[in-house]
């Protein structure tokens, strides 16, 4: 009985080879960032609208122009994200870190992420953090769909032998 419980526990631990501390603490900070803006302004900020709102400076398409009122603070929010991560890097990383993931994966994946988030009305922060936090059923569905599809895709890419 005890042995079975210990085995189950070891199985769970294998699913978290780096523990959960850094993930949970990081997540709380992400949530705090959204919460601070919400409390002060009533806005629930997601990361992906920045793409469209910034494009309103270079394209007069109606899809972009509807974000002209928010485009300036979205730039500030994004600069904050970049610098916040830089603060982490200075304190804990001690230098720059670069990915080994191939450029074509970053670019091609980025294109699909850019298209998908705009069709689907949100991304991992808009649906995943703000929407789920709002108990929005639309966001629950959005998160379930992109999570399952992403897991399936990553499995296929891995099985095809693409590394890293």
């Amino acid at each position: 009985m005890i042995e079975a419980a210990l085995q189950a526990l070891a199985g769970v631990e294998q699913l978290f080879p780096h523990g959960i501390y850094r993930y949970a603490v990081g997540g709380v900070f992400v949530g705090l960032g959204v919460a601070v803006i919400y409390v002060a302004t009533g806005i629930s900020a997601g990361a992906s609208t920045f793409l469209e709102s910034t494009l309103s400076w270079v394209s007069d398409g109606s899809r972009f122009q509807r974000y002209t009122a928010s485009r300036d603070w979205r730039v500030v929010f994004t600069l904050g994200i970049v610098l916040g991560a830089a603060v982490y890097a200075v304190i804990y990383q001690g230098g720059i870190w670069t990915t080994e993931v191939q450029l074509w994966r970053l670019f091609f994946g980025g294109v699909l992420v850019g298209i998908g988030t705009r069709i689907g009305k949100g991304c991992t922060s808009g649906h995943g953090v703000c929407g789920v936090g709002s108990a929005s059923r639309t966001s629950f569905v959005g998160v379930a769909v992109f999570l399952l599809v992403a897991i399936g895709t990553a499995q296929i890419v891995m099985a095809a032998g693409v590394t890293p």
């Binding site: 780096h18 993930y23 960032g33 916040g84 699909l112 850019g114 936090g133 990553a154």
Partner: protein, 149 residues
């Protein structure tokens, strides 16, 4: 509206971004490799990032509107982020999911990735802008056709 913004508006948005980006750095979500190990189901820690963040926002979104009726810096009411559900949420989710699964990047984590010095991520950010542009141009055209009598 823009001229009448509270002087603390931008600083607060910036601080919110700092916390958000620090969290993405600390949680290692700014590293595509770590996101990919989650999607390959060898390290499920990312669940705690999403749920940890959503737990904080859920408490905030639930509590704050019961304490105050309007936000101090904008005077606007506290709404919930409820988007209308339609087929597009599913279609967009599928496209987003394929992109996320191929690359291990999503918008927030890509911006944060630049912050930790990961300059190859510029390719990912360029891709996201291109994708959003293609979708926006196509959608703008579709809307203007729809508006014709």
């Amino acid at each position: 509206m823009i001229d009448e913004r509270h002087p603390a508006f931008m600083p607060v948005v910036f601080v919110g971004g700092l916390l958000f980006g620090f969290g993405l750095g600390f949680s290692h979500m700014a590293r595509p490799e770590v996101v990919l190990t989650f999607l390959q189901l060898t390290d499920l820690g990312l669940l705690f990032v999403m749920f940890g963040a959503a737990a904080v926002t859920a408490v905030t979104f639930f509590t704050v509107p019961r304490l105050r009726s309007t936000a101090p810096l904008t005077g606007s009411g506290y709404g919930r982020r409820l988007k209308q559900f339609d087929r597009r949420v599913v279609v967009g989710g599928v496209v987003f999911g394929v992109g996320w699964g191929v690359s291990g990047i999503c918008p927030g984590s890509a911006y944060a990735s630049l912050g930790i010095g990961n300059y190859p991520m510029l390719a990912g950010v360029a891709g996201m802008f291109m994708g959003a542009y293609l979708q926006g141009v196509w959608r703008s055209k579709q809307l203007s056709i729809g508006e014709r009598p």
